[in-house]
C-alpha cells in the first residue's frame, strides 16, 4: 500500500505518539488541567508548554492560541465569533469559492442570518489575487476569510501581502492556514492577520485537536461559540484534552524543525511524479508549478473518471477531490472554479506527499496511475486517442 493522501490526514509521527503516551498511561498524568491540585497543575503545565510550541511555529504569543477540537471548529469560531461580536446585520464578508467546506458552509449559514457574502473565483492559475479581494471590499465589509493554501491544489494565496492592505483598511482578516502550517513560513509577528486556523492532524499530530490564533494587539474580539466553564480565556469552554494538546505541540515543534528540509525534498518528489505522469497525453496539472506547496500534485486525466480511476488503484491511497467532499461524489468545486469543465474536474486525482513518502513510492505510484489511466481510456467508447 502506498499512502499519497497526506492532505486529507497524516499518520501520527512516532515521536508525537511517544510524547502523548505518558498523558494516556502514566498514573500521575491524568489530572484535569483545570483542577487546582498537583495533578491538575502538571497537566496544565503540559498544556501551556504545547501552547508555546504552536505559537513558536506561527510567530505569535502563547496567549494568542485558543485550543479547539480541530480546524473545522477553529474556522467556525473565527467567523461566527467575530461577526457575532460585531453584529451580523448588514455586515459583508469576502471569501473565495475554493475555501474548505468549514468556511463555505459557515458562510452559507450566516447568509441565512443576514450576512452578505462575496465568493471570489480564482484566476486561471488557481490563485486569488490580492487585487481581487481589495476590489470586492465595500464600506460595510467586516471581514475577509481566505485560505492560505488550498487543500485540493496546493495553491498558495498571497495572504501576507493582503494582510497589511486589509489592516490599513480596518478589515478583520481570517486565514485558514490548515494546509500552510509546517509547509511554509508563517510569522504572525510580521503579518497583520487577525485570526488564523490550524489543525493537528495535517502535520503528523493527532486528529480532533486544532487551534485558533486570536490576535491580542490590536485585539480581535470573539463571541464564544461553546459556552461553559470559561476555559481558554472564555473563548472556548470544555475540558482540555491534555494528550491531544501535547501531541499537537510536539507535532508543531517537529514541523518547525523539519520544514526547510522537507519542503526541499517534497518539491523534488512532486516534480518527479509530474515528470513520470507526463508519458500520458492530455493530462492537465491543476496545481500551480510555482505558487504551490511542495507536497500536493493535482492532475486531471482526460477520459479517466476520477472515482473509476481510484477504484482501479486499490494499492494506492489517494483522493479524487478533498476527503470531505468525496462522500458527496460531486466533481470538485475547486477545480470547476479553476475553469475545468465538469468532465475534467471529475477526472482528477489529488496526490499528496509527506514526511514518510519515498522516491520509490512515487515511482511505483506513477507507474500504477499511468497503467490505470491507459486501461480506462482503452475501455472508454468516448476516448478518442487521435483527438
Amino acid at each position: 500500500m502506498i499512502y499519497l493522501d497526506y492532505a486529507a490526514t497524516t499518520p501520527l509521527d512516532p515521536r508525537v505518539r511517544d510524547a502523548m503516551l505518558p498523558w494516556l498511561d502514566a498514573e500521575t498524568h491524568f489530572g484535569n488541567p483545570a483542577s487546582d491540585h498537583a495533578m491538575g497543575r502538571s497537566a496544565r503545565a503540559a498544556v501551556e508548554q504545547a501552547r508555546t510550541e504552536v505559537a513558536a511555529l506561527l510567530g505569535c504569543g502563547p496567549d494568542e492560541i485558543v485550543w479547539t477540537s480541530g480546524a473545522t471548529e477553529s474556522n467556525n469560531l473565527a467567523i461566527k465569533g467575530a461577526l457575532e461580536f460585531r453584529g451580523l446585520q448588514g455586515a459583508h464578508l469576502v471569501t473565495s469559492r475554493i475555501e474548505h467546506k468549514a468556511v463555505l458552509d459557515t458562510c452559507r449559514y450566516l447568509e441565512t442570518q443576514g450576512l452578505r457574502v462575496t465568493y471570489l473565483t480564482p484566476q486561471a492559475d488557481g490563485l486569488i489575487a490580492a487585487e481581487q479581494v481589495l476590489a470586492a471590499l465595500r464600506p460595510e465589509t467586516a471581514m475577509v476569510s481566505l485560505m492560505w493554501v488550498n487543500n485540493e491544489t496546493g495553491a498558495i494565496n498571497p495572504v501576507a501581502a493582503l494582510a497589511s492592505q486589509l489592516r490599513e483598511r480596518g478589515v478583520l482578516f481570517h486565514v485558514d492556514a490548515v494546509q500552510a502550517a509546517g509547509k511554509l513560513a508563517i510569522d504572525l509577528a510580521q503579518t497583520p492577520i487577525d485570526l488564523l486556523s490550524v489543525s493537528g492532524h495535517k502535520l503528523y499530530g493527532p486528529k480532533g485537536i486544532g487551534a485558533l490564533f486570536v490576535r491580542k494587539r490590536p485585539r480581535a474580539r470573539l463571541a464564544p461559540q461553546i459556552h461553559g466553564g470559561g476555559h481558554e480565556q472564555g473563548m472556548r469552554s470544555g475540558t482540555l484534552a491534555t494528550q491531544q494538546i501535547v501531541g499537537c505541540g510536539m507535532a508543531f515543534r517537529l514541523a518547525g524543525e523539519a520544514m526547510a528540509d522537507e519542503a526541499h525534498r517534497l518539491l523534488a518528489l512532486r516534480e518527479r511524479l509530474w515528470t513520470a505522469l507526463q508519458v500520458l497525453p492530455r493530462i492537465y496539472r491543476n496545481s500551480p508549478a510555482e505558487a504551490g506547496v511542495p507536497g500536493i500534485l493535482n492532475v486531471s486525466f482526460d477520459g479517466a473518471e476520477g472515482e473509476s480511476l481510484r477504484a482501479m488503484l486499490p494499492a494506492l491511497m489517494v483522493s479524487s477531490g478533498s476527503a470531505c467532499s468525496s462522500a458527496t461524489r460531486e466533481p470538485s468545486y475547486v477545480l470547476r472554479a479553476l475553469g475545468r469543465d465538469d468532465e475534467l474536474a471529475g477526472s482528477s486525482l489529488r496526490l499528496s506527499m509527506g514526511r514518510f513518502t519515498t522516491s520509490a513510492q512515487v515511482d511505483a505510484a506513477a507507474a500504477q496511475v499511468v497503467e490505470a489511466v491507459t486501461r480506462l481510456r482503452a475501455w472508454s467508447p468516448l476516448w478518442d486517442a487521435a483527438a
Partner: protein, 380 residues
C-alpha cells in the same frame, strides 16, 4: 503516589482502553471520511464504538453524534434545538453544570426567555412547583442533569418527561456524571437529548457525544463537512472515539461492581466524617451517585483545606474543575439555598474504581490532623 479522589473532574484512562486506542495511534489509519481502504477501516472503528456506547446509554447507535466532550454536547443540545425556532422559553435546573448554565444564559441575547428550575436543599426539584412553571407559557427546551457533578444528587428526570412534553418542550438530560455510575436507558427514559463525556468513565479526554432522538429538530453548531449526518462537521477523532467505545463497553460490564465498590468507600468516608466535629455533608439523605461526597468543615475555607490536602498528597476539589480557581463558592450549593459562608467551605470527594479503603483511612486521618492542628489559627 498522590491519592486521587477527584474522579468527577476526570478519571484515569483505563489501560485496557489505551490498548484499544493504540492501533489508531500507530497504524497508518486514515481520515474516516476518505473512501480508500484506510479511510474505511477508520470508519468501521468509529461505527463499532458507536454501538458500544449505545449499549451503555441504552440508545440506538444512529442516535449518537460524536462531539469534543460534554461541554460541546450541552452547547449543541441547547443551541441546536433553539436555533431557527421562534423564541419562547428555555428552562434549566439551578444546579446545572456551567456548560448548560452559561449556554442557556447566552440564549437571552437571541431573544429567549431563560428561567431556572428551583432546586431544594436536598438537591431535588420541587415537582409541583416545576409543573406550575411549565404551565405558565410555551417552552422549547428544558435541561436537567441526571447526576450533579458536585453533590452527586441523582435527579429523577423521568418524572419531568411527561410534563415537559405536555408543555410542548424537548427534554435535554446532562448525563455526563451519570454515565457509568448508575444505569442509563435513554430509550426507556423517553428524554429527547442526552449529553455524555468519555473522560468521566476512564476514557480519553476531548471526546463526548450527544444522543438525540430522530424526531428532534437539531441545527449544527459546527458547519462544514458531512460528518455525523451533517450535524457535526470536522474530521473524526478516530483514536479517541475508539477509546470512548472501549471505555463504554467496560463500564457496562463493570457497572455494578464499580457502583458497589465506590458506594462502600463512600459509606466509610461518610461515617468517618460524621465523627469529626463541625462536618456537614451536603444533600445528605438524598439519592446520590455511589461515588460522590460533598461536605464542609465549619470554620474552614474550602480552597484553604484543598491546598493543605494537596500538600499532603490528596487530590480533591471544591466543586467543578472548570470553575475552580475563581474563588467563588459553588453556584450549585447556593442554588440549593445553602448559605454563602457554608458553601464557601465545600470540599468534594469523588471516588473511582481504583480507589481503596486504605486511601479513605489515610484521608480521614489527614483531614483530622489538619482540622485539629490548625483549628484555632484558621478560624475566621
Amino acid at each position: 503516589m498522590p491519592v486521587y479522589f477527584d474522579n468527577n473532574a476526570t478519571t484515569r484512562l483505563d489501560p485496557r482502553v489505551l490498548e484499544a486506542m493504540l492501533p489508531y495511534l500507530s497504524g497508518p489509519y486514515g481520515n474516516a471520511s476518505s473512501l480508500h481502504r484506510f479511510g474505511r477501516a477508520a470508519r468501521d472503528a468509529v461505527e463499532r464504538a458507536r454501538e458500544q456506547l449505545a449499549m451503555l446509554a441504552g440508545c440506538q447507535s444512529r442516535e449518537i453524534i460524536w462531539t469534543s466532550g460534554g461541554t460541546e454536547s450541552d452547547n449543541l443540545a441547547l443551541k441546536g434545538v433553539t436555533e431557527g425556532a421562534l423564541p419562547t422559553r428555555v428552562l434549566y435546573g439551578a444546579t446545572e453544570h456551567p456548560a448548560v448554565l452559561e449556554t442557556a444564559e447566552a440564549l437571552r441575547a437571541r431573544g429567549w426567555g431563560v428561567e431556572t428550575v428551583a432546586i431544594g436543599r436536598d438537591g431535588l426539584i420541587d415537582g409541583p412547583r416545576f409543573e406550575r412553571q411549565l404551565a405558565a407559557g410555551p417552552v422549547r427546551l428544558v435541561s436537567l442533569m441526571r447526576v450533579n457533578n458536585e453533590t452527586g444528587v441523582i435527579q429523577d428526570v423521568a418524572r419531568a418527561v411527561d410534563p415537559v412534553h405536555a408543555a410542548g418542550g424537548w427534554l435535554h438530560v446532562d448525563a455526563v456524571q451519570a454515565l457509568g455510575k448508575i444505569p442509563l436507558d435513554f430509550t426507556a427514559l423517553r428524554a429527547d437529548l442526552m449529553s455524555v463525556s468519555s473522560h468521566k468513565i476512564y476514557g480519553p479526554k476531548g471526546i463526548g457525544a450527544l444522543i438525540v432522538r430522530a424526531d428532534v429538530e437539531l441545527a449544527p453548531l459546527h458547519h462544514g463537512g458531512v460528518q455525523e449526518r451533517g450535524l457535526r462537521g470536522g474530521t473524526e477523532n478516530v483514536a479517541s472515539i475508539v477509546g470512548f467505545g472501549a471505555a463504554a463497553e467496560l463500564a457496562l460490564q463493570e457497572l455494578d461492581a464499580r457502583a458497589a465498590h465506590t458506594q462502600s468507600l463512600r459509606e466509610q468516608l461518610e461515617s468517618g466524617l460524621r465523627s469529626l466535629p463541625g462536618v456537614q455533608i451536603f444533600a445528605d439523605g438524598a439519592p446520590k451517585a455511589p461515588n460522590t461526597v460533598q461536605f464542609a468543615v465549619a470554620g474552614y475555607h474550602g480552597e484553604a483545606l484543598l491546598m493543605q490536602l494537596d500538600r499532603k498528597g490528596f487530590a480533591v476539589s471544591s466543586g467543578s474543575a472548570c470553575s475552580s480557581g475563581k474563588g467563588e463558592p459553588s453556584h450549585v450549593l447556593l442554588g440549593m439555598g445553602i448559605a454563602y459562608e457554608v458553601a464557601d467551605g465545600a470540599v468534594r470527594v469523588s471516588f473511582g474504581k481504583d480507589n481503596s479503603a486504605a486511601e479513605v483511612e489515610q484521608f480521614l486521618a489527614a483531614l483530622a490532623a489538619i482540622t485539629q492542628a490548625a483549628m484555632p489559627a484558621m478560624q475566621p
